[in-house]
Amino acid sequence: MKSGKLLALAALLASTAISANSAALPGNAQMDVNFTLPKIDTSMYARPYVAIWIEDQNRRPVRTLELWVGKDEWLKDLRSWWRKVGRNDKALVDGVTSATRPAGHYRFVWDGKDDKGNRVEQGSYTFLAEVVREHGGRNLIRQKIELGTQGFSHRIAATEETGTVTLDYKIN
């Protein structure tokens, strides 16, 4: 009896904890992404395939922001993105696909919406970028982000296939 009451109380507390967190992002919140593909000196340079996406705290994909690819035959080489997103939703892939790009700086904005166009709830998320290059290497970078009512800036160090990446979450 006593433990039953305790369980009920715990369940109540848990549900309030969830509902306290389940507020949507503030309407004007957005995340600016500054992304760099480094110039790589090599005899066989091919533009890399790039996938940039957001996952929730259960590591489920929420939104694919950018997908820069060529032939679909090689989509599977974006191993992590293919397994989590690409193979499951062809319409999504078609909707977000764009051409591969040369080395350089790129800036884009995440409007805080999921793949279906709904604003995500406040909470913990992960920013992921996977870059894979024919004749070259592969890097998967991750950054935990807390989306709420406070802004933040993150700087992700360069890897072989990615230059410095910065994330700026702003509530204007």
Binding site: D72, S80, W82
Partner: protein, 276 residues
Amino acid sequence: MKHKLKGVALTCAAIAGLAVSVSASAHPRWILPSHFTVSKEGGDWLTFDVTASHGTFVFDKPAGSESASVLMPDGRSERPNFVIRGKRRSIFDFEFTEQGTHKVAVNGTPTYWTKYKAGRRDTVKWLKANKAERDAELPTKSRDVITQLSFTRTESYITVGKPSQSALEIEGKLLELKPITHPADIVEGEPVTFQFFYNGQPQSGVTVDVTRDGTLYRNQQDQLDLVSDKQGMIKFTPEHAGRYLLRANHKGELKNNPLADTSSSNVHLTFEAVLQ
């Protein structure tokens, strides 16, 4: 001294020879797909190597691919489009055009060996015969006669686009492996669960080893040795991405089988653990 050594060597060779002829796992047959995942729109051709060898993904004996089959996502079975048999392996190609998970298998046919004792020294002898055939061939005073069925499933899974479940189902015959972790979801550093069944029932005590590709270029096999639990489950974590060969064996009694008293059945599964 020299003669003595030679004698020992000969005896060893004789024992080894016997083991090869009797145990199906002496030279385990396995299959190696060129790819496990297809993302190309409209599908793609994949090629498969089939051989029997002691090395993990090292070609040795020309195991045939004539019995190869592809269990399609909708449950029908197809045959490979091309089959070639070389001296040390066979090859087949198949065009995968349907979305979902396919089970590719090169299963053998059951073989029967009868073990018996004969002569004044109770020498153990083997006869390639099943229970129905053995009486005609056994010497009159044979003792401890027992016939064993040997059967090996050699299999792998291919996924085109979105993974599906139907090809993972078992058929309820002898030893089978049911992937609880989907073969397209095996990732380095993440736990994998497989379940073993014998004649359709979860089977405990199945002995399993799992070895990653590349044994030629490392000093230790680094194989995982596992035994299935009460529910027939094994759990393990592939530490590195790569291609893996899993070999499982179970020896069981056969009840009311007209051809054999016991069985030794194997599952040889090739799978990949992908990068994080």
